[in-house]
Symmetry: C2
């Protein structure tokens, strides 16, 4: 092979994620997938998008099909400013907002802009698998913060940070600068947990005390069907870098996310993004702008909330009916996932082939645990499958679990 000895260390170590492999399996089989974090395609606002594209291509095709600035379409950044501020944040200029190719690109930019090899970043455990994949190319050390029913456990994090300062920590580790914590505070992926307001405040205090930034990833708060605590960005505009996405509130195929950060940083992110893909999809930006400017976003969110709540309740009920004794699961107020913990004798990774053979897919929880823990956990998505699939898939899952140890 011509490439022998030529691949980078990063390429040699890179492994395809299990979610991606499961997504590929969906294309080729008829199994019921609780795997990916996909929205319900039957709820896409197709007619609104069709109208908008027709209007945009009639009114301004010369700009809607051309390159945009790397920062993104200014009218959309102004709409996003209004949208975020209506949620209690305090963005003062559209120049504090930059469009990204999905919020996944924001995560890559966070790594790129802040991590030098050997720097420390703090992750929740469990954490979003593909965030870890985004940060790894920059060779960080990981400091893992546990979670409980109130979200990220800030008391435990404080103890860890204090311990790191003490003389018991190895010199190399305690010298490593902590650059940021990455958190999904609301309806977390994968756990479904939401961090309380008191803990958010405590986290901001810790960030000030220890001099690190807070990367707040917030794809789900807009869809929560009960009141959520304020965004961490609303508690400290300067130290919090915020990202969200249109993937859950419009359509993921448009690959559109955004970052909100102090202007000095959005300008830095734009310079770095230029090397990645020059600019974000222009047509998508025009679609999103019109979707907001015409007031469609508010009514679309109002339609999504009860639909997803129904699905979530259906899955919670199905779990109650089908899970064996000793299994536990979270009861989120929104997001896309329910997190199941089986008794410790289970290994959901080993059980996955049996589940697939039984026609149901999930993501083994170990994938979300950089420490190697969580072998007895799994993440279930309830937004993509139909109500019938939720019922039948949960039944298949229950059967798989009961049969596994037998």
């Amino acid at each position: 092979m011509a490439t022998d000895g030529l691949l980078s260390k990063l390429a040699l170590e890179a492994k395809a994620s299990e979610i991606r492999e499961i997504l590929k399996a969906i294309k080729t089989n008829d199994l019921i997938s609780f795997g990916g974090g996909m929205p319900d395609p039957k709820l896409f606002p197709v007619e609104e998008i069709r109208q908008i594209v027709n209007d945009v291509l009639r009114e301004c095709p010369d700009v809607a099909l051309q390159y945009e600035t790397t920062e993104g379409y200014e009218k959309l950044r102004k709409e996003l400013l209004r949208f975020m501020n209506s949620e209690g944040m305090c963005i003062s200029s559209p120049d504090e907002i930059m469009l990204t190719t999905g919020s996944q690109q924001a995560l890559d930019l966070f790594g790129r802009a802040f991590i030098d090899p050997g720097d420390t970043i703090i992750l929740e455990e469990p954490t979003y698998l593909t965030a870890l994949m985004a940060f790894r190319p920059y060779w960080p050390r990981l400091l893992l913060a546990p979670m409980d029913s109130e979200g990220l456990d800030t008391d435990a994090l404080r103890r860890i940070l204090e311990g790191r300062r003490s003389r018991s920590a190895p010199a190399s580790e305690s010298n490593s600068k902590i650059k940021f914590i990455y958190t999904i505070p609301t309806c977390q992926n994968p756990s479904g947990l939401t961090m309380t307001e008191a803990r958010r405040k405590e986290l901001v205090d810790l960030a000030h005390e220890y001099g690190f930034l807070i990367m707040e990833d917030d794809p789900y708060s807009y869809l929560s069907d009960s009141k959520t605590p304020p965004a961490i960005k609303a508690l400290d505009n300067d130290r919090v870098i915020y990202t969200s996405t249109f993937s859950k509130i419009l359509a993921p195929g448009l690959r559109l996310g955004w970052i909100a950060a102090p202007e000095m940083l959005t300008s830095k992110f734009a310079t770095l993004k230029q090397a990645l893909d020059l600019c974000t999809n222009t047509l998508s930006q025009h679609i999103a702008y019109q979707f907001m400017a015409r007031g469609y976003l508010g009514s679309y969110i109002a339609k999504l909330k009860p639909a997803y709540k129904n699905k979530r309740e259906a899955m919670l009920n199905a779990l109650s009916e089908n899970m064996p004794g000793g299994a536990e699961w979270t009861r989120p107020t929104g997001g896309m996932f329910i997190w199941v913990t089986l008794p410790e004798v289970y290994d959901t990774q080993k059980m996955l082939p049996e589940a697939l053979a039984n026609g149901v897919a999930y993501v083994p929880g170990g994938s979300f645990h950089p420490s190697g823990r969580g072998k007895n956990t799994m993440r279930l998505n309830y937004t993509y499958p139909t109500m019938e699939q939720i019922s039948e898939g949960t039944r298949r899952l229950g059967n798989t679990i009961r049969a596994h140890l037998a």
Copy 2:
């Protein structure tokens, strides 16, 4: 500022490109821009795209607005296989093709997949500025190969490679593994030059002899209005990694490019791309697929060629009329750029503010020279400005040049 001491080395060193700053200037002034590499927006196939989006949103909105696999829409990959093979290449499976978020993302993936810090890559000089920006985050050493009227000077490159092997080279340099050469062999950006077939064959020989890969960036060959030499990919399918883009043959706002490489590598690229943006814009992929499957691409290219030839000839004529004695320029067969070399006393970087004050923008050639050479050169784009702007802008440019030394 909360970020003091937290930015990465990469972020601290990153500088906004001049092209980007010029693109921003276009948005705020009425100057005539020969700066960016933008297609003529009046030629966008708006009606075809409008029809396609309406059909796609009627027939398959559930997939066209959803996440795609990271590799990309399979039907589009099959169309691309046929398209490339009709140009003399020999791709045997759609799995050798992966969609990317513009070909800019392909360049980032090349760096990511092959460069470890301190590895050597070979660049043409001058080279595409934003390719250099894409590779820099991976900390390569640069080996620069000169160009002449026949494109990349392979004789000179051979001498450089032989010299590197000899004992005169510093140990650290000769130990550094050469991973790849990056080349735009046809209607190069920025020079407009095309590498001869003999030189392409010689380059393949050198790659085998010295064990490196060839990254062939080919945005322009499909628009050349005279017959071009075969793609390097057609000369050696295994050692050449190929990228091209829909930005010049459909619309840049769709942010759609592709990579063709041995399947083992497209699979590796897909794993790495997942961390960057999960997948390429799905709606764009459906638009491009239908644009090809309906036969629009061929007729659109047939329409673009004479239109751009007219503009190029208009600019060449205007240069003859307006450039002072001692100025020279290339006469490309396609692409988007003419490369002007002024007498050595000129510094086009220093002259740029005067040009902008006179209402015309270009990109100073020094930006495309990693060695620091080329201060007396500039890149002119002829595809974006109108015929009137080409005439008037070249006149303004001539006046600027004549006034500069006075």
